[in-house]
Subunit: 140 residues, 2 copies
């Protein structure tokens, strides 16, 4: 039976997740890519090297993040959050966010550790999706 | 180290997967949803009840399917296939495709079994994404 999650359940699932699939639009086509993220205060924080995803988000800032917990085909929960892409450029803010990501994803060391120490380095993009809508469904 | 998969590796990963994240565009916004699928002869086959995904695909047939195998943050492979959405309306074709889906996803019984027996029933949508581009990356 499929039921909608209420907003608290949807937020909790988004907070618990570590890997989401980021949806964006590149040149009129949908584009989906797995990302590590931290969800806090209705923002999704992540970082990336330059590439297709960043080009897509800069050109078309509307994005979504889909996160799920799938046990099997008949027992799963999925949540999707929509929002607008914003780059974080202020070094102190970059450092704080990279610190949170590093804490949650210790395997990302040492590249990201170096980035935390030198958060002003321009080659990595730190960004947030400012979420304005979140919905979820559960099948069980 | 990140490397591009060649097309054979990308196709193999797409064939091996069972759950993908379908990306489409709904009202100018990206939309991502997990789906069960079968990949065969450069087409992605799936089915759905009516809803947001089907509305999106009918309005904007360009879609993608992203599939990954993630061991941890530093060991993963991800593939994305792009193509155009087509509904399968011919009852014999619907039956064949639902049969393949049912074989691969036995847990989907009994709803889909009934659909195979009565594949002309209009309430379920059987569709394919006719793939024209597939790329993949590997991190290890």
């Amino acid at each position: 039976m499929t039921k909608m999650l209420d907003e608290t359940e949807a937020r909790d699932l988004m907070s618990a997740g570590k890997i989401g699939r980021l949806g964006c639009i590149y040149d009129g086509e949908p584009y989906v890519v797995p990302v590590n993220y931290v969800f806090e205060d209705m923002s999704i924080y992540s970082h990336s090297l330059p590439g297709r995803k960043i080009e897509a988000l800069r050109a078309h800032p509307r994005a979504c993040l889909q996160v799920d917990e799938i046990q099997d085909d008949l027992n799963w929960r999925s949540v999707i959050a929509y929002g607008n892409f914003e780059e974080i450029r202020v070094p102190t803010e970059r450092r704080t966010i990279l610190g949170k990501l590093l804490e949650r994803f210790p395997l990302l060391t040492p590249v990201e550790s170096r980035m935390v120490e030198d958060a002003a380095a321009p080659d990595s993009i730190v960004f947030r999706i400012v979420v304005d809508r979140i919905t979820g469904v559960e099948e069980q």
